[in-house]
């Protein structure tokens, strides 16, 4: 059997390895996407005071540090059974929305856009931020950089640090903002709303206006019928910071809607021996392997997962773009894997609008930012929507708040089964004669990059980012071709 190895999958915050096995006819027999890193956070969080964990878990991932910080902080609220005052909640959600905006700039301009804007068939050396700046112009490049910088500074102002914030406490935050500062933040957020619309404009002009791109997006190569999951507010609108978890089936019908504390009734994980990452699936559907459809417990999270699992966006401009997306894609849910990029831009706009709403709210600069915990801790769950999907932190402690056990289901991990499926599907459709060209492999990678997988996160188990190797093996298992990217 032929085997194709792609190593490394670059431009991913993480470490992965793809093996594609071909049969005698040169067609894809199977594809394995391995995560070769393990980190052991669960184990070394034990014995630490739980109150320190929101300063430790962010080191699971320097790309999603705010998600881990928030999930752990909310987990501490629940652990100590302390309710943050309204100002603290608004501050947290505002900061988290700004983080989400910032993260999506990295994804779109540094990671994803090079594929679309520079072109998936462009030479490897140009498919990066520098190539992108060359294509869209230095002026625009400067604008991107200025906005990116601004959002970093706001995150530092609020969280102490842009990467690995230190600000959350059970029951609140360690520092508030003045009225002045709130107004300045609102001013920035107004610019972010413009910037988000501008970015969507680029996507429309450079990607959607070209039929060949749209054909790829709605085509058969990048498609998967699956369940979808995301946090929603009381109106079933997408929310990143708080709410209930909603799951819809492949027809878009509500399958479950539950409090984050009940996640163990709904999610289970399986260990397969060829990878360090576990595969989560819907417990009530069951594990059927890496397959699509209603019978398979695989579900998808992150932008497209969230939008599919919701009834829309809570802010007006994002709702408009949401409608435009589903109109183009032919209704909800959309199973088109590459639509993750579009959904991410809908969320970019939502993040900016939501941050602005909160920055315009006088209560966000209120004086009461904390309730000091008084209860004895024992168990807590904290869930947020990380950019790359639903993130679960669950701590158990002794009565002194020393951690006995930690369970973590990380954002990218939820999509692992779906990523494996998407890679195999793309490979099967694109490799016919056992001879993949370099752009073909890049297109297999696109299946996987659509998820914006963050493998540092996924292997929250041992820090390490490894790029990817794709090996193509023949029917005897001999490596025909090893592709390093």
């Amino acid at each position: 059997m032929n085997k194709i190895t792609i190593d490394p999958v670059t431009r991913l915050e993480g470490h992965g390895k793809i093996d594609i096995f071909l049969n005698d006819g040169g067609e894809v027999e199977n594809a394995y996407f391995q995560v070769p890193e393990f980190r052991g956070f669960e184990r070394f969080c034990e014995g630490r005071p739980a109150g320190e964990l929101n300063r430790i878990t962010p080191r699971i991932c320097g790309v999603c540090p705010w998600a881990h910080h928030m999930a752990s902080t909310k987990c501490l609220d629940d652990l100590y059974k302390v309710e943050p005052p309204p100002t603290a909640k608004k501050l947290r959600e505002m900061a988290y929305s700004i983080y989400s905006f910032y993260d999506k700039i990295i994804n779109f301009y540094f990671l994803a856009a090079p594929d679309f804007v520079v072109g998936s068939d462009a030479p490897a050396a140009e498919r990066n931020i520098v190539g992108l700046i060359n294509r869209v112009g230095v002026e625009i490049g400067k604008k991107v950089i200025a906005t990116y910088k601004d959002s970093q500074k706001l995150l530092e102002l609020l969280g102490g640090r842009t990467i690995h914030p230190v600000w959350g406490l059970p029951g609140g935050v360690s520092k508030g903002i003045t009225d002045e500062q709130r107004k300045e933040i609102a001013e920035k957020c107004r610019e972010y709303v413009d910037f988000a619309q501008y970015s969507i404009g680029i996507f429309h002009d450079l990607v959607l206006a070209e039929k060949k791109h749209v054909d790829v997006i709605v085509g058969d190569v990048y498609n998967m019928k699956s369940y979808y999951m995301g946090l929603v507010d009381e109106d079933n609108k997408v929310n990143f910071y708080d709410g209930h978890i909603r799951v819809v089936d492949p027809d878009g019908k509500e399958f479950a809607r539950f409090h984050p504390r009940d996640y163990m009734d709904h999610i289970e994980e399986i260990v397969l021996p060829w990878t360090y990452l576990k595969f989560p699936y819907l417990k009530k559907v069951g594990w059927k392997g890496i397959v699509d459809g209603k019978e398979s417990g695989l579900y998808r999270v992150a932008p497209l997962g969230r939008l599919n699992a919701s009834d829309g966006m809570a802010t007006p401009l994002a709702q408009k773009e949401h409608d435009r997306m589903y109109d183009t894609l032919g209704g909800k849910p959309a199973h088109h894997t590459l639509a993750f990029h579009w959904a991410r831009l809908v969320e970019l706009l939502y993040s900016a609008e939501r941050a602005l709403e909160l920055a315009e709210d006088a209560e966000t600069s209120g004086a009461c930012i904390r309730n000091v915990p008084e209860n004895t801790p024992s168990e807590g769950v904290g869930v947020v929507e990380a950019p790359r999907g639903t993130l679960f932190h669950h701590f158990w402690t002794d009565e002194n708040g020393i951690v006995r056990k930690v369970n973590l289901i990380v954002a990218t991990g939820n999509n692992y089964g779906a990523m494996c499926y998407s890679i195999k599907r793309a490979a099967s459709k694109l490799i016919k004669d056992g001879k993949p060209g370099p752009e073909l492999l890049n297109m297999v990678e696109m299946a996987f990059r659509a998820y914006d997988p963050c493998l540092a996160c996924a292997t929250h188990t041992l820090p390490g980012h490894t790029p990817l190797i794709v090996t193509i093996r023949d029917s005897k298992g001999e490596a025909l071709e090893v592709v390093e990217r």
């Binding site: 059997m1 085997k3 670059t10 431009r11 915050e13 093996d19 096995f21 027999e29 199977n30 070769p36 393990f38 980190r39 052991g40 669960e42 184990r43 070394f44 014995g47 320190e52 300063r55 430790i56 080191r59 991932c61 320097g62 790309v63 501490l76 990295i106 540094f110 990066n128 950089i145 910088k149 530092e156 102490g160 842009t162 990467i163 690995h164 230190v166 406490l169 360690s174 163990m264 999610i267 289970e268 994980e269 260990v271 021996p273 060829w274 594990w287 915990p373 708040g401 056990k405 369970n407 963050c454 188990t461 041992l462 820090p463 390490g464 980012h465 490894t466 298992g477 390093e484 990217r485």
Partner: protein
């Protein structure tokens, strides 16, 4: 400037969270200055490159390589050795590369124990057959391999020679910018230098010391009201400031949270945890009827607190493995 004169720069991650790669993009407009005078020839996290290109480079072909992340498996060690050979100047970038960082905390356990914990004992993991990831798996279609995880996290300088150290988890954008400026201008400090401040963090922290440095009990920041003006240590909150290198701008104490020591020890201090313990012991003053031990018994998890980022680089390095 002609291409011939351009510098060649590499950025690599080993056992890393990616934060050090991300902060490299936080130099923002400096990225444009940088690419004006230098080619980034190797940066797997952000650009398409092949490991083979690295192998084929001449020795010393890269002018500078920023290396982030700790060393936790044989792949990391191999790459560290290869990169050392190909780079004129090798910089340990970030606390993981400098001191082992947060992942170094796993030096209190073994890989086997961590694996058992993650795959057999997690409450949402259904694993009645006790399947564990294996280094080699015979799948129906062929063989698949995974790297072995070491028991002990190592720092970069424990496996290869390092020319400079840029501490921080991650280093701040400002510090990263200064390192980049030094690289671009060729004005690097003497070999072996730590690119950061050289005093203790207390020196740049603006919390006021009211000279009531008498710790009568330890309080965790989440359990107590915090006075935003006063030195946290004076309020009974353990802060790593006295045993931590300056240079971060006191980011944590600025938002009223104690330092946890990510910049490692200041000049002249070997073991950060021991230094912090010493600093605290000198200010603990037990109230009437209590002993020093009584006060210290209220200190939870001293190892994880004093050696939060530097266990792998400390005199302890790791706990004993009983086999």
């Amino acid at each position: 400037m002609s291409d011939k004169a351009k510098m060649k720069i590499g950025i690599y991650w080993a056992a890393s969270c990616g934060g050090c790669d991300v902060v490299t993009t936080h130099i923002n407009e400096k990225i444009l200055d940088l690419i004006e005078v230098a080619d980034i020839v190797f940066w797997p996290c952000a650009m398409d490159f092949k490991y083979d290109d690295l192998r084929q480079m001449a020795d010393g072909e890269m002018d500078v390589c920023l290396f982030n992340g700790a060393i936790r498996n044989s792949d990391h060690e191999e790459l560290a050795e290869l990169i050392r050979k190909k780079s004129k100047v090798l910089i340990a970038f970030g606390s993981c590369a400098c001191f082992g960082g947060i992942p170094g905390l796993s030096n209190v356990t073994t890989a086997e124990e961590s694996i058992r914990r993650a795959y057999l004992e997690e409450p949402t993991t259904l694993n009645p057959e006790k399947v564990l990831p294996r280094l080699e798996v015979r799948a129906p279609e062929g063989d698949l391999t995974l790297p072995r995880i070491w028991d002990t996290v190592h720092t970069l300088k424990q496996v290869v020679d390092v020319d400079y150290f840029v501490p921080g988890c991650p280093p701040t954008a400002e510090l990263t910018g200064s390192a980049v400026d030094a690289i671009i201008s060729g004005k690097l400090p003497p070999a072996g230098s730590v690119i950061a401040g050289n005093k203790a963090l207390c020196d740049e922290c603006d919390k006021v010391k009211k000279n009531e440095m008498r710790m009568i009990e330890f309080k965790a920041p989440w359990e107590t009201e915090i006075d935003p003006e006063q030195c946290l240590m004076e309020q009974g909150i353990v802060c790593s400031g006295p045993a931590t290198r300056s240079g971060c701008g006191a980011q944590c104490t600025k938002v009223n949270m104690p330092c946890r020591g990510c910049f490692g020890p200041p000049d002249g201090v070997e073991d950060q945890g021991a230094a912090l313990l010493g600093a605290i012991a000198s200010v603990v003053s037990p109230p009437a009827g209590k002993s020093i031990d009584d006060v210290f018994s209220g200190l939870r998890d001293p190892l994880g607190l004093f050696y939060r980022f530097s266990l792998a680089d400390s005199m302890l390095r790791r706990t004993k493995i009983s086999k």
